[in-house]
């Protein structure tokens, strides 16, 4: 079920199986895209199987954990947590371990005897005995320990003074933002660069909502951008490595090389710390694979075609969008397509 040997670095052997394509969390329910507070309850079940678990584990699990480990060797500052967030660290470990064990009993087991816990992670071949609450009994601090074993980035947020503060994170698969830069910032500060949304009042409403987020009632939203080559690490720190990729897109290679990058973002109120855990789970799909779903290829064409210029610039699509439009236009007859993000087909084209 896993593709342990695929790579998100040159060679780029990453690829999606047919099943992975059909479960892709396609982000556009309508033909037009604009920012809005698109938060909904994070309940199990959704338009595709990517929504079936609290934290989705898919065929890329082992390879993504390996890629994270490589990134951390080169740049340990991708994981940082401020000292007052220790309770939130244990909250995160508890939530991820419990969710993994409940959703994937064939892969993960959590045995709890008071504070004496045993964690078994079969895909990564880990059996860890530790004392819950005692960081010295784990090889890494609790937040780093568990997020090294999970797909997607995570940030933890302290809630104080009617605001949320980015006071910790594990960020190795990001769409061009930096934890090292944002660490310690308030909600409005770290969202500062996003165009349009401030004027629309999106962040005021989102912050108010999140300050009242409740235990056991997580919410989710999806966000998206496009990435050349299936790279997880598109950070500002590594820009010299991946930035030049944008100049390599041609009409011939766009279908294989250009990827829609979707983040399934989840938000959890953490009970011990009263903080919030923000999960940013990244999914990559090449245009060629996406074009095997009729609804998706037409809709992506329309969204990209009519995108607001400020959003094109902010998402870094200026150079790659023309080739993407050329490729996708051939599939779009202009006929109306149903709303929603489900693929509406059970086998691929």
């Amino acid at each position: 079920m896993f593709n342990p040997d695929e790579s998100f670095r040159p060679s780029f052997s990453y690829k999606n199986s047919d099943q992975a394509i059909l479960r892709f969390p396609f982000p556009f329910p309508q033909d037009k895209y604009m920012y809005l507070v698109n938060l909904e309850p994070h309940v199990k079940g959704g338009p595709t199987a990517a929504y079936d678990a609290t934290f989705d584990v898919d065929e890329h699990y082992i390879a993504e954990c390996a890629d994270r480990a490589l990134t951390l060797i080169a740049d340990p500052k991708r994981c940082q947590v401020l000292p007052h967030m220790m309770a939130a660290q244990w909250d995160t470990l508890e939530l991820i371990m419990e969710s993994f064990a409940a959703d994937y009993p064939e892969h993960f087991t959590l045995i709890r005897e008071g504070d004496a816990w045993t964690w078994i992670n079969r895909p990564l071949n880990i059996e860890q005995h530790f004392t819950f609450g005692d960081p010295a009994t784990l090889p890494y601090a609790p937040f780093e320990y568990i997020t090294r074993q999970a797909q997607g980035d995570f940030t933890i947020h302290d809630q104080r003074d009617n605001d949320l503060w980015m006071d910790g994170g594990m960020v190795t698969a990001q769409a061009d933002w930096s934890l090292d830069f944002d660490l310690g910032m308030s909600f409005m500060e770290w969202h500062g660069p996003v165009p349009k949304a401030h004027e629309l009042g999106v962040f005021d409403r989102a912050l108010k909502f999140l300050l009242r987020l409740q235990v056991d009632a997580p919410v989710r939203r999806v966000n998206w951008t496009m990435t050349v080559n299936p790279r997880l690490d598109t950070s500002p720190e590594a820009y010299p490595v991946w930035g030049p990729d944008r100049t390599t897109i041609t009409a011939e290679n766009v279908a294989e090389k250009l990827h829609l990058r979707v983040e399934l973002q989840t938000l959890f109120r953490l009970p011990r710390s009263n903080g919030i855990l923000f999960g940013i789970r990244c999914y990559l799909i090449s245009l060629a694979d996406l074009a095997r779903v009729e609804k998706w290829r037409k809709r992506l064409h329309r969204v990209l075609r009519d995108l607001d210029p400020a959003v094109i610039e902010y998402k870094g699509l200026t150079r790659t969008r023309p080739a993407a439009l050329l490729y996708l236009a051939q599939f779009d007859d202009g006929a109306p397509i149903p709303p929603g993000t489900a693929p509406d087909q059970t086998a691929l084209l």
Binding site: R160, F209, Q214, D216, A217, P271, R272, N274
Partner: protein
């Protein structure tokens, strides 16, 4: 707002602490673990009486991190709306109740240089869960209470390295505030008058807003009965003198969100369409009072009030 699902709980233990205080222990009735309890968190219990339902909020006094049992302490209030009497006179071990997951409107400020906790009476309950989380940060706890409660509270505070109980009017809040080091956070829990005077004293001394934390409880005393017109539902309901507007809305089987039920969190806020409201909340600003009302505590001066629900 997304509401958490209710958790079924079983009363596993009831223990009198004195003539008017009892400690109640709740365990999961569904075989699962509770969400970890936290210092300052409260839960809401649904109490189903013969004639009515109460949904009352209680601070968790269990040690932070508890997942197999939650403990609350309830004072019997003969003149109250009836919820505490229900818990004192009707509740029995083995009974099951519905509970909302914990909500924390009174968390410890983890960046504080010092914690100054001022409590009056049963307002000490949220602080009981603070102790293990205070860690190495200096703190001071002052509790004002009746002499008849002193012994019970001293027992509850037995594992605290130090605390101050005041049964005579010798707690001089201004003096206390004046000698605190910079970076101290102030926490207040007790009856409205106690909290108001302490807050006023802190503001007069220039304490910043973000350093003053308050947990309001027992706010919704009754008042004159009135009629509420629920515009969107097309219903007209009666609000009895010992009932809150929120309770009357719920009794009419209309879904209304709520969290703290003490006028502090803003969750139950509704749009006010007509009438002369009697605002009793701690959340809305003066200007918001013109167009909004919080039905968990606020009532009506006019005989009729119209709200958008």
């Amino acid at each position: 707002m997304t509401q958490s699902a209710k958790i079924p709980v079983r009363v596993s233990h009831i223990e009198p602490l004195n003539a008017s205080l009892r400690r109640i222990t709740l365990e999961p009735a569904d075989g699962r673990l509770f969400p970890a309890s936290a210092a300052g968190a409260h839960i809401q219990l649904e109490l189903i009486g013969e004639a009515r339902i109460w949904r009352n909020a209680y601070s968790l006094v269990s040690p932070p991190g508890s997942r197999t049992a939650y403990t609350i302490i309830v004072r019997k209030v003969p003149q109250g709306r009836g919820g505490s009497l229900f818990l004192h006179e009707r509740l029995a071990v083995g009974q099951t109740l519905n509970m909302s997951p914990p909500v924390n409107l009174f968390p410890i400020a983890r960046l504080a240089r010092k914690h100054l906790m001022l409590a009056a009476g049963i307002g000490v309950t949220p602080f009981l869960a603070y102790r293990t989380d205070l860690a190495e940060t200096p703190f001071e706890l002052h509790l004002r209470c009746r002499a008849t409660d002193q012994a019970a509270f001293e027992t509850l505070l037995a594992n605290w390295p130090q605390y101050h109980i005041h049964t005579t009017p010798d707690l001089h809040v201004s003096d206390l505030l004046r000698r605190q080091p910079l970076g101290t956070h102030l926490y207040l829990c007790g009856p409205a008058g106690f909290m108001q005077s302490a807050e006023t004293a802190a503001r007069a001394l220039g304490w910043p807003e973000a350093r003053i934390h308050q947990e309001h409880f027992g706010g919704p005393a009754g008042g004159h009965p009135f009629t509420a017109i629920l515009a969107r539902s097309g219903r007209t309901i009666h609000v009895a003198q010992d009932q809150t507007l929120l309770e009357a809305i719920e009794a009419a089987n209309i879904d209304a969100p709520s969290l703290c039920r003490g006028g502090a969190c803003g969750e139950c806020r509704l749009t006010l369409l007509a009438g002369s409201p009697d605002h009793r909340d701690h959340f809305l600003t003066e200007s918001e009072h013109a167009t909004s009302i919080m039905p968990c505590v606020s009532r009506s001066h006019s005989e009729t009030i119209t709200i958008d629900i």
